[in-house]
Symmetry: C2
Subunit: 425 residues, 2 copies
Amino acid sequence: MEAELKNLLSDLHALEDSLRDPTHHSLIDKMRSRVERLSVMENSRVVQRVKIKDMSAEVVDSNPYSRLMALQRMGIVDNYERIREFSVAIVGIGGVGSVAAEMLTRCGIGRLLLYDYDKVELANMNRLFFRPEQAGMTKTDAAVQTLSDINPDVVLESYTLNITTVQGFETFMSSLNNKSFRPDKEGSGVDLVLSCVDNYEARMVVNQACNELSQTWMESGVSENAVSGHIQLLVPGETACFACAPPLVVASGVDERTLKREGVCAASLPTTMGVVAGLLVQNTLKYLLKFGNVTPYLGYNALKDFFPTMEMKPNPQCSNAACLEKQKEYALAKPARDAAARAKMEVEISLEPECLHEDNDWNISVVDDSDVQVSSTSSGALPEGLVFELPSADEFQKPSVSEETTNTVDDLEDLRRQLEALNAD
Amino acid sequence: MEAELKNLLSDLHALEDSLRDPTHHSLIDKMRSRVERLSVMENSRVVQRVKIKDMSAEVVDSNPYSRLMALQRMGIVDNYERIREFSVAIVGIGGVGSVAAEMLTRCGIGRLLLYDYDKVELANMNRLFFRPEQAGMTKTDAAVQTLSDINPDVVLESYTLNITTVQGFETFMSSLNNKSFRPDKEGSGVDLVLSCVDNYEARMVVNQACNELSQTWMESGVSENAVSGHIQLLVPGETACFACAPPLVVASGVDERTLKREGVCAASLPTTMGVVAGLLVQNTLKYLLKFGNVTPYLGYNALKDFFPTMEMKPNPQCSNAACLEKQKEYALAKPARDAAARAKMEVEISLEPECLHEDNDWNISVVDDSDVQVSSTSSGALPEGLVFELPSADEFQKPSVSEETTNTVDDLEDLRRQLEALNAD
């Protein structure tokens, strides 16, 4: 649009020059000022954020990373800037995937790979992210448009394809394997795959790809009645894969498309999808930046605000051959894992500071309390006025001794006197 | 922009007409086609969604409400379209409030009232909603721009003011009391107030306004280290108000602004804020559309994915006079509430179907199990091979009776025989 307006201005200039009759000049001036006004409007609209080379923690209004770098000062994350090294692939740019992509973009993730074959429709407007004027665009194009405006620092790759087709799967695999963004990275070319699809067939394809690549991924889903959802972490060989405990529709081999009736659509809410996307990306940040506990499975029941968690081990009878192979590899690597864990623990112990506080301004000294007697009811004594209803087990099992004998044994002097009295009889 | 382009076209037409020399016409044609191209580009950009008179459940791609109306078919909501009757006020259009506003807008809420005095900065770009090109605009103007593009059916009212000033508070109160949107509504002019502010002073002001108006509201907050948050429902007189159990900084009367150091900013994450906004609006939808359980308090600990809940009763020693007044009113209205609850229960019982199954194809009959003896260890009997270590309390407190006496008393015939033997001696 900017170029077209510039051309219009030079056309006006050329016209003015070629007109010998100056009576037309006032009209041309008027037109020029119109074009100039249009240019100003256009410029005020497309002011793009400039790219930023290094993330700064400086607290100024113009720094889009100040509130993220503050996570270091708050003691939550050791090195926030590492986020620029990571690549995350998002499969499915719908109600969950698009919001997940926006969150990661605003966090300044290094590179995002986006996969979808669908188009934006007005029927998608009840979820966050897409705008009505994007209706008719592919979801990938619309997402790239919005995300690159929000944060031009993120490297965006979009793939308008269906991963469940042969050609689509091949492109999916080769894009995950591409290491040009970080050639020294171990394993595949991405750090995490997020599955945000709405059908089991696509989930099984993501599962297959990740099992083959030994690629850690996270699965997400929202129920058809819009009021529950879940996220799940899948590490090939270490946790259950998606085929280890398949949903009934997958296990029974039914084509799920035959289950959907014409003219009936699933319900959805921006709230449930926003919460699931938030929990998914939060788990992603914890996994990538190593803080908090990465949750293996988290459910969300919106009607009751109930959030169940669980862990799933791999199934030794899993139907997926690649999963069985990764399970074997994981078992074989156990001694090496144990040795590494031991070594790490030893390093941590050797690094422990011997003296935490070198000076002692307040003359605080530690008191040895090993001799201190703790007097409490836990020793068996009851507060005044209370008695036990039952004897203790120890008392009950004591051999019963007559009261008289006990008293005599307790008092040796008395015993001697009784003996003398008997002798005197 | 559209008007300016139209004017430009008519200027070109006028110029062409006034030029007797046709050599210039080709240049004018070229300019005309440029302006036409600009118009096409402009139109493709500002295609606004048309307003929709009635929400339809029709499943077509062009229906922005199909996935929401599906909540009725799924049995979650009785009457989704009622959402158009409701007014929600959002105080604070930051990381939580802006996302809450977008969710309610996409859900097709009737009317939104937005309050904020701040401007959009690039430093806000690590949260959802605002775009870099909106930097410098007031948050209220930027929000109205984005929200009216997303859903022109929602009535938007924005107030660029600080509710903690005298003038701001007055406008806040009168805007909440304005009933022009639904003149027959009981109470204030809004159905719910959402507090999405980032300081205690503003929360106390929302609390004061809602106590005075008997206005139900929901409070939300995110911690300074960005990894926890909460939402809370407050019903004046019925639940604790914000002053009933005030945070230490409020209770101690310290000016919280003195606690913030220059050049130090709080951390924030789009994930935590998105989750809190999602939970807040989900609770709002449950409250307005009467489905699921409205949660009185829900916490979110992102590091552990822990979601605590609790309930808080009002404090009879609350420092807020309006709260004490509402507590009194709530107590006085107890008999009326109980009567209404009883009447409702009676209606429900009378509506209960007497016979659930009129036919009985399978001849299923109910067996009377009142005579069936339940044999279990709960009656005191132990499984074979086990004995009690301690006697039961009843046994222990029984007056001890010699075994002989017991046996004799039990057998009267034996007693008679012993008596005869004694007499025979």
